[in-house]
């Protein structure tokens, strides 16, 4: 990342997306503050992943626009300042863990920094597996390798699409503790799509709760818990209050959509 790059603000204006006649993302006005981590929570298939892909410029909007730091997403992409971790780890099977992490630096046209590569592989708990190919790793290990790959370029924008989906519960908690300091130190604008309410609260500064498809925001909940956050936080009263609030909003969204869904 260029030394002068500060994290950008992401702005969606009148953004919507249809696939054929199906509206996946309802027209929305969203602003993601620079350097903040926002969790996007909603029922599966509601269109949150599509929203993420719109922000990454991987899908073209049907209407409206996305800007990152005031410019189209393509500009950020071309500077190698955006990283995305996909639902599927999407590791290239012929490259080792180290090779896959290194590939991100190559694609982002950055200098190959051996120390940083080793540190990230170590951080996601894959030290000792750097020379292993993905085929020989468990699902959770692959996903951790994918996270290391997404973070190695020290991106200004980090898009995480259910990155912990296949990770076991213990590792999940560990990663939830270890990873935020990394993107906080870099001041990265982070969007995190997740199914897990507690993960959303634990990792983010703000939780957006979405309705069933087409995705529309039903609640915008700030998370003012102090950092660094430890696993012990998850049994504290403020944490439980927040998760309760998010769960309620989710249920509200489902209930409001129920008649419409039944009609379909």
């Amino acid at each position: 990342m260029a030394p002068d790059a500060s994290p950008p603000e992401i702005v969606c204006r009148g953004l919507s997306k249809c696939f054929g006649a199906t509206e996946v993302v309802a027209p929305c006005e969203l602003t993601f503050a620079a350097g903040q981590t926002t969790a996007l929570v909603g029922p599966s298939g509601c269109g949150k992943s599509t929203l993420l892909r719109l922000v990454a410029g991987l899908e073209a909007p049907s209407a409206g626009s996305v800007t990152i730091g005031g410019a189209p997403p393509g500009d950020t992409l071309r500077r190698g300042q955006l990283s995305m971790a996909f639902q599927d780890p999407s590791l290239l099977p012929w490259r080792t863990v180290r090779g896959n992490v290194t590939l991100a630096l190559k694609l982002a046209r950055q200098r190959k920094d051996e120390a940083r590569i080793a540190r990230l592989i170590d951080l996601v708990g894959l030290d000792g597996f750097a020379g292993t190919r993905p085929g020989a790793l468990s699902g959770g290990m692959r996903q951790r390798a994918a996270i290391a790959r997404a973070m190695v370029t020290e991106p200004a924008v980090l898009l995480l699409d259910e990155p912990f989906g296949a990770v076991d519960e213990l590792t999940r908690q560990q990663l939830a503790e270890d990873l935020p300091p990394l993107w906080e130190a870099r001041e990265t604008t982070t969007l995190l799509v997740t199914h897990s309410v507690s993960e959303a609260v634990m990792l983010s500064d703000r939780v957006l709760v979405f309705s069933p498809r087409p995705a529309a925001v039903v609640a915008d909940i700030p998370v003012a818990l102090e950092r660094p956050r430890r696993a012990s936080l998850s049994s504290s009263k403020p944490f439980l209050d927040l998760t309760g609030e998010v769960s309620e909003a989710l249920a509200r969204g489902m209930a409001a959509a129920a008649p419409r869904l039944a009609a379909q």
Binding site: G80, S83, S90, L103, K106, L107
Partner: protein, 523 residues
Amino acid sequence: MIVAAAMRRSDPVLRAALGLLLIVALWELSARALSGAYILAGPVEVARYLAQNSGLMVRALRETLWSAAQGFFWGNLAAVTLAVTAIVMPRSERVVSALALLVFCLPLVATGPILRVLYGPGDGPQITLAALAVYYTTYVPLLVGLRAAPATWFELVQSYGRGRAAELWHVRAMTALPYLFAGLQIAAPAAFLGAMVGEFTGAERGMGVLTIRAMRALDVPGAWALASLAAAISVAAYAAIGALARAVSVAPPPVILSPPGAPVGRRLGALAPLGLTILALVLWWGLLEGFGLNAFFAKRPGDVFEALMLAPDAAQTRATLLAALRETAIAVVPGYLAGLALGAALATLIVLVPVASTVAMPLAVALRSVPIVTSAPLGVLLLGRGEAGTITLVALMVFFPTFVACLHGLRQAPGQILDVFDSYAAGPVARLVHVRLPAMLPAFFAAARMAVPASVLAVTVVEWLATGQGIGSLMALSASLSDYDMLWASVAVVALLSAAGYGLVSRAEALVLSRYAAEQVRR
């Protein structure tokens, strides 16, 4: 039983060797039974012939191998160039694929003599025919391989703001590698075949020349020795490329299925074939004009149209052509269908008898690489010059690739679904009908598609070398009489008919697969 048990445990190479031994023994036995009939030379006699003529054989083999190697190189280079073009410029894929198919459908029997006139003496025609024989069978799997990656791998590249070149380099090149090797494996024997057919058209040295000479002189041991040598070389080349692929640790790809290009019913619709035909005609005309080729032997589309439609003897020309086509159809259609049916049926049967399949598979893979066309003279020796011989050779040409593809396909049946059937204690027939046969369909159609040009090649070569009937013979006759109007007209008609047959099978494939294997049909 003990042999069967040993076979089940042993590796494929050993099993193939056992099968081969069995075939050689049967071959020797039938040769002894038929001794005096003057049609079949056994392995002992073949070995003796090879030993006695080793000098001649080595010289001829060196000649043919060198032509084949050069053709292999140029043909595969063309295949890679075409496939990369189609991937980097997706809009061009349709046109590239269609023209590649049309050129592949040009009958070697006629392009051979035309190339001979163009090049004069020397090895130009052999190399060109070898290249023509290989490029398409590499192009098709390569195109599939270059796409054989999940969408997110490309999105990963895109998410760093990189384009098609980075996709090609970081993702597609590696996913295509197994498919490239699979294509090269098929291409090696095909190049040898192309070089031999090229030599049939009047080279001075080489295996093809010796084969023609042996056939004309009714030299039975000679003909069998040459065919055995060609078969052995082809199997060896096929195996060597397979070994090379394993050495660079490339796993074989799943059966190559997706038809290249031509997604069903897109914008152009019915107009596409028309546009492509016009484009092909323009290219035909442009190439001949561009090289400034003599209009006496290098006929333009206009000349062919005049010969078929406007000239005073046009009606007679058309009648001759149609009569020849009818004769060819009588041999090629039953042969093609029989080859397909036998291949699929035998593969299905053999899956029900697992021990048989462990022997048959490696053997069939080895035999698939035998250039059957180069042994056409043997077919004539064995089966005579009638229709039966031609039909049998066409059927054999179609049978082996179909059989191997179907066996692969039957094995692709998803294990979890078979487990479901097992949990209901379903019998082998139920598993076959409900799981294995649908799983076989994509592979079957892929083979049926490629078998169309292959059977046209087989039938024209046999007609040309042996039976003196049909379009193959007409082309050979026209070439020797310098009736270039008739020759070019035949080439155009045969290429169009082959491409149309291929298109027809592709259409049937799309219809069936959209029901049984929707994931194979590209939209």
